[in-house]
Symmetry: C2
Subunit: 168 residues, 2 copies
DNA sequence: ACTTTCTTTCAAATTCTTTTGAAAGTTCGG
DNA sequence: CCGAACTTTCAAAAGAATTTGAAAGAAAGT
């Protein structure tokens, strides 16, 4: 396979993966482009490569930065801003996990908690079924929360520990 | 909190959770409704409760059945079909994991594999960066695949083992 | 303070997804 | 085989999300 084709195919695949994850396609494509770039790219280069508008580029790069998986790189003596992606894919994984947990799991945990205090006539089978369902889901959600936290934490620790090795 | 409000809030929360997961809002809401229902509901009851059209109901119920988290229930002597959700939330979790893995991870694994055979002048830094990125991502994806398989399998085994207990 | 270069914003346009509802299809009892 | 009761399909409409591009904003050199 030719390099150019391979690159296009990767960007496209990463884009659809993102789309299925509720990450917008363009954001994922920019991320893909930066992941395989040997050096940081400017907004113009990104626009050019992906055929997207300046506004779109700006918006999605900013979001990638918010997620903590892309950094702004300032080249001394240059006016332009350059962008580069975190290359350690494990860090990318945990960053995404952290971000999605914050946006998805945390809110539902809050709701589930509130819902446990539903007023209840235990004789009403609707109320009983509701309570049972909520308490099961709540248990599951707590479990998932704990697992994700462990994953995120483990990664931070791993990073910390390798960092230590570098300096000692 | 009143039961009616709690119910509405749960359905709405489950719906947004679904939406962020690339599962359509209505599908998630139907699922929520069935999760807390003390007994199986007909298409008409679902339409009524959620204020959605017949076509929409049919489509999304069918999809929930495809995912293996809702079953068609036939009441003897009744013409209508009734639907009920899998109540064991762990089983729901693994069903979703299985489904999403099939639709998301598996395709990208295929692509990544193909991309490893990119033609390459090792002196070209673009090619080198591409190869490095792909091989790291591939390693990560394989790992994730293995972890998910373990999760799905563990659940199947757990199910199998409790099933055995019932019959012995 | 002015000009140039670059970045950000946001309303309007476009594109993609979902929903509707009426028509076609299916199933079953008689 | 017919009609009633129900389910499925799908083209068109509505709605949601994304993208554009032009205008406004910032920063930096002169």
């Amino acid at each position: 396979m030719k390099f150019t084709d391979a690159k296009a195919q990767f960007i496209q695949a990463w884009g659809s993966l993102g789309a299925q994850w509720g990450i917008n396609r363009t954001m994922a494509q920019i991320h893909a482009l930066l992941l395989i770039a040997p050096n940081a790219l400017s907004a113009d280069e990104i626009m050019e490569e992906l055929n997207i508008s300046r506004g779109n580029t700006n918006m999605n790069v900013r979001e990638l930065i918010n997620w903590g998986i892309v950094d702004k790189v300032l080249v001394p003596g240059e006016r332009k801003e350059y962008f580069s992606a975190e290359k350690d894919i494990w860090k990318v994984g945990t960053a995404i996990a952290r971000e999605r947990k914050k946006r998805e799991l945390d809110p539902i945990l809050k709701v589930l908690n509130a819902l446990q205090s539903v007023e209840g006539d235990q004789k009403d089978k609707h109320v009983k079924a509701f309570r049972d369902a909520i308490s099961n889901i709540n248990r599951f959600a707590q479990q998932t929360d704990a697992t994700l936290n462990a994953f995120i934490k483990a990664e931070e620790n791993w990073f910390y520990s390798t960092l230590l090795k570098v300096f000692k």
